[in-house]
């Protein structure tokens, strides 16, 4: 007894995708002098620039509750998100914030309890209408954290399976060409006949990526794909990932808990916590203007000091009087939290008359090669200061923190 109501939008969407494919193919055939890999990228990029304003993923009112032994867990609480064409959006947050659940709902591997999800204009999941398109009919690509490459197949077979057995099959004579094209894109040429279990972690990740993009999906979903790699490899793969998704021009939704990864990869970063979206914006904006205390703390390092508002643009804290932009919600006399990034403070041996400063004592040093993070004790609070280069202070030295204006954030 399998009852799934047919989705009225589905046939329309599929025809649309088939048409796009046909257009690409006809133009592809016309450009004989350009090599396969380049022409494919070129074509997609040209198409994409024209349709940049189109929203490819539209999430509205998404809610998902899990029933666990300890009671209901509200993994995702009524979130809305739009991802534009060719955009790379990163869902960033700590474990349990709902980012993976959101991604899996978009993939169709989880069924939400409320809300709608649209991909390329067609509704793929709507709780109110009772419609649902299963994952194998959504034309998406997905890269899993554990790579999920099929261990009993070779590299070639792993990448070719969607083209020969999936719902987005292509003509038999084009299959080999497409697979080799995609393998050269992820820089795995020459390894087609290797059993995939013989490859290293980074190589297996590239096979997973190749497999995800070989069907030319509308959307590429990635669930913490780099977290199983060691640090050095992670940095290299980050650049590779950026290059590949840029050149293919696919819309990407990426989940991670690593804020450095989010800032470097995303066109827009979406910070989540406890099932809610706290802030969405370009990385520079999220870093420079975190909208809440959680975002400020989660993205990058931040010092927090409690203070009291004493004027329209001034607050009194244990670091002295500080000039900052006070949000209108906080009136004079209210308790607020001041926040400043360690790199916006500096340490010096003595103070000068031009900048406000405060004396303290160095109690901790964390040297990471290109910079040093000092922990300075001031009036009972520990303030972190970041200085480029090797440490010039030792633990126990007195030091003066120089306060920079206009870099303070105020949170109620």
């Amino acid at each position: 007894m399998i009852v799934i109501p047919a989705d009225p939008g589905e046939s329309r969407g599929r025809a649309g995708i088939q048409e796009l494919d046909r257009n690409l193919d006809s133009r592809f055939r016309g450009n004989d002098e350009i090599g396969p890999a380049t022409s494919f990228n070129e074509l997609l990029r040209q198409d994409n620039y024209r349709e940049r304003d189109k929203v490819v993923i539209r999430i509205r009112n998404l809610e998902k509750v899990f029933l666990s032994a300890r009671g209901p867990v509200r993994a995702v609480q009524r979130i809305d998100l739009d991802v534009a064409d060719s955009e790379f959006v990163v869902l960033l947050g700590p474990s349990g914030c709902g980012k993976t659940t959101t991604l899996r709902c978009v993939a169709g591997l989880e069924r939400p309890d409320r809300g709608t999800i649209e991909i390329a204009g067609e509704i793929v999941d709507s709780v109110s209408e009772g419609s649902y398109v299963p994952p194998d009919r959504r034309n998406i690509g997905m890269v899993f954290q554990s790579y999920a490459v099929w261990p009993h197949l070779t590299v070639y077979d792993n990448v070719v399976l969607p083209l020969t057995e999936g719902r987005y099959r292509i003509a038999k004579n084009q299959v080999r060409e497409r697979v080799l094209e995609v393998l050269s894109l992820v820089r795995l040429e020459g390894l087609e006949t290797r059993p995939v279990t013989d490859l290293s972690g980074g190589q297996q990740q590239r096979v997973a990526l190749a497999r995800a993009i070989v069907t030319r999906p509308t959307v590429l979903l990635m669930d913490e794909p780099l977290s199983n790699l060691d640090a050095r490899l992670r940095d290299q793969m980050r650049l590779e990932l950026k290059r590949i998704t840029r050149s293919v021009g696919v819309t990407a939704l990426y989940v991670t808990h690593d804020q450095a990864e989010a800032l470097s990869l995303g066109d827009r970063v979406c910070v989540m916590n406890e099932g809610k979206i706290l802030q969405v914006g370009p990385p520079q904006v999220v870093y420079a203007n975190p909208s809440s205390r959680f975002v400020a703390e989660f993205v990058g390092e931040m010092n927090f000091i409690s203070a009291k508002v004493i004027g329209p643009a001034e607050a009194e804290s244990l670091l002295g009087r500080v000039r900052c932009s006070v949000p209108p919600a906080c009136q004079t006399g209210s308790e607020v939290t001041l926040a400043i990034r360690p790199e916006h403070l500096s340490l010096s041996r003595s103070r000068d008359e031009y900048h406000p400063a405060i004396k303290g004592k160095v109690v901790g040093i964390n040297y990471v090669g290109d910079a040093t993070l000092f922990e300075v004790e001031v009036g009972g609070a520990a303030i972190r200061v970041k200085q480029p280069g090797a440490p010039v202070f030792a633990v126990g030295d007195p030091a003066t923190i120089v306060l920079t204006q206009d870099s303070w954030h105020v949170y109620p």
Binding site: M1, I2, V3, I4, A107, G108, L109, R111, D113, R114, V127, S128, G130, P134, P135, D136, R137, R138, N139, I140, G141, M142, F144, Q145, S146, A148, V149, W150, P151, H152, L161, P162, E165, G166, R167, Y168, A208, R211, A212, T215, L221
Partner: protein, 579 residues
């Protein structure tokens, strides 16, 4: 979508009940099992003409059983037998397991070979062989001792409960071995090393650390073997029926197939009910002990092995003991069977007898019967493993992959056959065929009734093996296939099945071999058309045709030895623990 999603009414939309197509297949054996148990309970309360309107519902059957002194002596015999079995099996299996896991003794593959292949030679053959060795009148050992010492009668009697326990203990020693090997592997050797460093001697460590830590594992193995012992039918049938030494299983047999009077199915069913309760109680105890024992298991980290002890000069003695076990448990009985198979009558081996060896028994057996038995056995060996594989795959898939809470019920139902004696299934199937299904599904007197019972019985083990295999296939491998555009069927065919192929093959071979050697159900359900080869051996033996029985046994062993080779080559992966 094979997700068994049972969603409750949740606003704003009403959820649709989605049941996977695998569920009906998975539920079929459960229904059969429920049928067996229910019909036993139903019949146990009836007297008069059972299954008709004239039947009365009383407790008379239970009263008859409780009043029958034979029942009590059977109970006592069963307890003695089961205890003897457990003691003998553990006394042989445990030291060999310790030798294999904790010493540097050489030739470990051979030891494993002896212990695992041993499980496949039917216990009935060992019992037959030991009759020729230690039966008070015809056993050659007794005759030699009488001749040597001038005794009045043979001192060794294999037909007593303790004697039968000895034979079954020999049969089940491999089971004890496998259990305790797993236990030794799970034990944390660091605890023993800490004791040695702290100054305890070898025996003190053994006494104060090793044995207490090993106790839950040993106890669990002991309970399991005890449960198997209580349920045994083939050994007491071969060794005890002749001289009227009854155990519960053979007591049930004579009530069902009596020589002198009408079958008393009501009494059989009431004994069956009592057995169900006892078996469930034992299973519960077994589960409790296992849970307590898992507290002692510590994850020791990658690749840590304990420092094995060098047995030194004791190695030869150990090997002699292992060799002696293999000899008395397999080699000697089978040799005796072969000897009797070619003899004109049963007599102790002597040069005189050797000169009389011939193929006369070969011509004397009823070939029409044997060929019929062969056909039935082969039918079962082909059909049952296929059905078992299919059903256990469905059950395992649902249990491992679905997220509904109903899967725990399915898992329990799948494992239930393991806990109940096979005799019960046979009786249940018989009663079901005779009284419930007789008009609209004539299964009685066909080999298909036996096939159904075999499927239900073998399901527990097959499901357990499949669970292990499916758990190793990470869920994300299927999700990746789904996202890549493969339908569920294609995912199962191209991704899941290739990865669990080794386990499926092992299950197939094991089931086939266990079907070939099965005696209990075959005997209870035997009839003109449904007789199998082991049942033929049994019926010759029961009719005092020992030479013919031995010849058919020899035929069986030779015919199916290629199977053993197949098993040796392919079936040993996957850690098959029990049958």
């Amino acid at each position: 979508m094979t997700e068994l999603a049972l969603r409750l009414f949740k606003f704003p939309a009403i959820r649709i009940l989605r049941i996977s197509p695998l569920v009906p297949i998975a539920l079929l054996p459960m229904l059969a099992l429920a049928g067996f148990i229910l019909v036993i309970l139903w019949v146990s309360f009836q007297t008069g003409v059972i299954g008709t309107a004239q039947a009365q519902y009383t407790l008379d059957n239970y009263r008859a059983v409780f009043a029958d002194p034979l029942a009590y002596s059977s109970l006592l015999n069963t307890l003695v037998f089961a205890t003897a079995t457990t003691l003998f099996a553990m006394a042989i299996g445990l030291p060999i397991a310790w030798l294999t896991e904790r010493t540097t003794i050489g030739g470990k593959p051979i030891i494993y070979g002896i212990m695992t292949v041993g499980l496949l030679i039917p216990g009935i053959f060992v019992a037959m062989g030991w009759t020729f060795i230690a039966h008070p009148r015809i056993g050659f050992l007794n005759q030699w001792l009488v001749w040597l010492f001038g005794l009045d009668e043979g001192p060794i009697n294999i037909g007593t409960p303790i004697g039968m326990g000895f034979v079954q203990g020999l049969n089940l020693a491999p089971l004890a071995f496998i259990f305790t090997v797993q236990m030794f592997r799970a034990m944390n050797p660091l605890l023993e090393e800490a004791a040695r460093i702290a100054g305890l001697s070898f025996t003190a460590t053994l006494r104060r650390v090793t044995l207490p830590l090993a106790t839950p594992g040993i106890l669990a193995a002991g309970i399991y073997i005890f449960t198997v012992g209580i349920a045994t039918f083939d050994i007491p049938a071969v060794l005890g029926l002749g001289n009227r030494v009854y155990l519960f299983s053979t007591y049930m047999f004579i009530q069902t197939f009596p020589q002198e009077y009408v079958p008393r199915y009501g009494i059989t069913a009431s004994i069956g009910t009592a057995m169900i309760i006892v078996a469930l109680g034992l299973t519960y105890w077994y589960g409790q002990v296992l849970r307590r024992g898992s507290r002692y298991e510590v994850i020791t980290g990658k690749g840590y092995r304990p420092k094995p002890i060098d047995p030194g000069r004791w190695a030869i003695l150990c090997w002699a003991c292992i060799g002696f076990y293999a000899f008395i448990a397999k080699l000697l009985p089978v040799t005796m069977i072969a000897f009797v198979a070619f003899s004109p009558y049963v007599a102790p081996p002597s040069f005189d007898m050797l000169s009389q060896l011939s193929l006369s028994n070969f011509y004397r057996i009823n070939w029409e019967l044997v060929l019929r038995g062969l056909r039935n056995t082969i039918t079962l060996m082909v059909v049952v493993p296929a059905v078992v594989l299919c059903v256990s795959f469905c059950i395992s898939w649902l249990v491992v992959r679905s997220r509904s809470r109903a899967r725990y019920l399915l898992e329990f139902g799948a494992f239930l056959p393991h806990t109940l004696p096979e005799v019960l299934f046979a009786i249940g199937a018989l009663l079901l065929a005779l009284f419930v299904l007789k008009d609209f599904l004539p299964l009685y007197d066909t080999v298909w009734l036996i096939a159904i019972v075999y499927v239900v019985v073998r399901m527990a083990f097959a499901t357990r093996a499949m669970n292990g295999a499916l758990l190793q296939v990470h869920r994300e491998l299927e999700e990746a296939a789904s996202v890549a555009g493969l339908s569920t069927l294609r995912t199962a065919w191209r991704v899941v099945l290739p990865l669990i192929r080794p386990t499926m093959f092992s299950v197939w071979i094991w089931t086939m071999l266990l079907v070939y050697r099965e005696v209990t159900v075959a005997v209870f359900l035997t009839s003109q058309n449904s007789i199998t080869l082991p049942a033929i051996v049994w019926s010759y033996w029961n009719a005092a045709g020992m030479t013919e029985a031995s010849m058919v046994t020899l035929l069986m062993i030779t015919l199916f030895s290629p199977l053993l080779v197949l098993f040796w080559r392919f079936g040993r992966q996957g850690g098959m623990a029990s049958g």
